[in-house]
């Protein structure tokens, strides 16, 4: 089996998330093989660089199964961001598999899913607006909904978060990849 290292970006996050929030950002990764086998890596906490690049490393799924060589569709779901699918990714045995999706802006996970249902609706907009009662509202780190509404993970609800949640809302329901 080989080790897989995924590099990716989430729209609007351009620095390391604020301390106290970063620890609560669970990412969900799914690998679907050509043979129809699905591997789920649930609740992984990727490292985030100072320029906002997320790095997730793993070699087995949440059930402890090693991920064999093959061709996979890889789906990544972030907190406050829609799931993004990367198709036909080759994974090889006995070597480092570095998959870098951080260089092209069209590969960014789209911002705006504050209730984690993999879609952007008016509910997400209203959730952020509920917390945006002043120009710069500090995020209560014990309030998960507020953390999810802090889309750029800077520790404050500002007009940035309002603009980010509205950015991709182009229809009643904007769904992430499945």
């Amino acid at each position: 089996m080989g080790k897989i290292t995924l590099l990716f970006r989430q729209q609007g996050i351009t620095t390391s998330p604020t301390s106290g929030i970063a620890e609560q950002l669970n990412t969900y990764i799914t690998l679907k093989s050509n043979e129809g086998v699905t591997y789920k890596i649930e609740g992984i906490k990727p490292a985030v660089g100072s320029s906002g690049i997320w790095t997730a490393s793993f070699s087995q799924d949440s059930q402890g199964r090693f991920i064999p060589a093959g061709t996979y569709d890889i789906l990544i779901k972030g907190v406050s961001h829609l799931q993004k699918k990367f198709t036909s990714i080759q994974i090889s045995n006995n070597q480092q598999n570095k998959i870098d999706k951080s260089t092209n802006t069209k590969d960014e996970l789209k911002a705006g899913d504050t209730n984690n249902d993999n879609s952007i609706t008016i509910e997400d907009i209203s959730t952020v607006l509920k917390f945006y009662t002043d120009f710069k509202v500090p995020v209560n780190k014990n309030d998960l909904t507020m953390i999810q509404s802090d889309i750029n993970k800077d520790g404050f609800i500002t007009i940035d978060d309002v603009a980010l949640v509205a950015l991709n809302w182009s229809d009643f329901v904007v769904k992430g990849d499945e």
Partner: protein
């Protein structure tokens, strides 16, 4: 021959009259604008930060807050600003009914989650933020974000105390956020 002589006099004559009328029209137009607005350099405050300039104009009984692109067209998706103006005293009450944001193009597609005007005896503070969904506003010329209609009895010495555009504001959120933090104060 007689015809040619006639053209030699007539054509330059027409040109002179045309040029004179253009000059007169333009002069009247400039004079009219200046008279109507009475905008002087002293009551325009302007600051540039990155690709945007912010301008506050005090014009007769109105205060206009404008943004304009610097150099290139920018996309405006959201903004947040706080502005305080003060006098030496005797400021009448100003309320949100005295605010208008209707000068923003496609005004109906904008929402304003924060829209507050607080007055006391010496002045007022405006807090305003707005955002749009769908297409952002393509800013290629100055746009008035808000106009405050000052009530009668507003003291003449009303001046800008401070203008603050939301710190680290990502007014132009796109794939490469252009972050333009700045704070103005006079």
């Amino acid at each position: 021959m007689k015809n040619k002589r006639y053209l030699e006099i007539f054509i330059p004559g027409i040109l002179v009259i045309g040029l004179a009328s253009i000059i007169i029209t333009q002069t009247l137009k400039i004079k009219n604008t200046a008279t109507t607005n009475r905008v002087t350099k002293e009551n325009i405050q302007e600051e540039k930060g990155g690709n945007i300039s912010l301008k506050v104009i005090k014009e007769n009984s109105r205060v206009i807050v404008q943004v304009a692109p610097v150099g290139k067209t920018i996309n405006l998706r959201a903004f947040a600003l706080k502005m305080s103006m003060e006098t030496k005293g005797g400021m009448p009450k100003v309320g949100t009914q005295d605010l208008t944001t209707r000068e923003i193009p496609n005004h109906t597609s904008w929402s304003f989650p924060i829209k507050k005007l607080e007055t006391n005896n010496v002045g007022f503070t405006l807090s305003l933020s707005g955002f749009t969904v769908g297409d952002p506003l393509s800013l290629d010329k100055p746009v008035s974000l808000v106009i405050i209609n000052l009530p009668s009895g507003t003291p003449e010495d009303l001046s800008i105390k401070s203008v603050m555009v939301d710190n680290d504001s990502t007014r132009f959120i796109g794939n490469s956020s252009e972050i333009i933090p700045y704070q103005l104060g006079w």
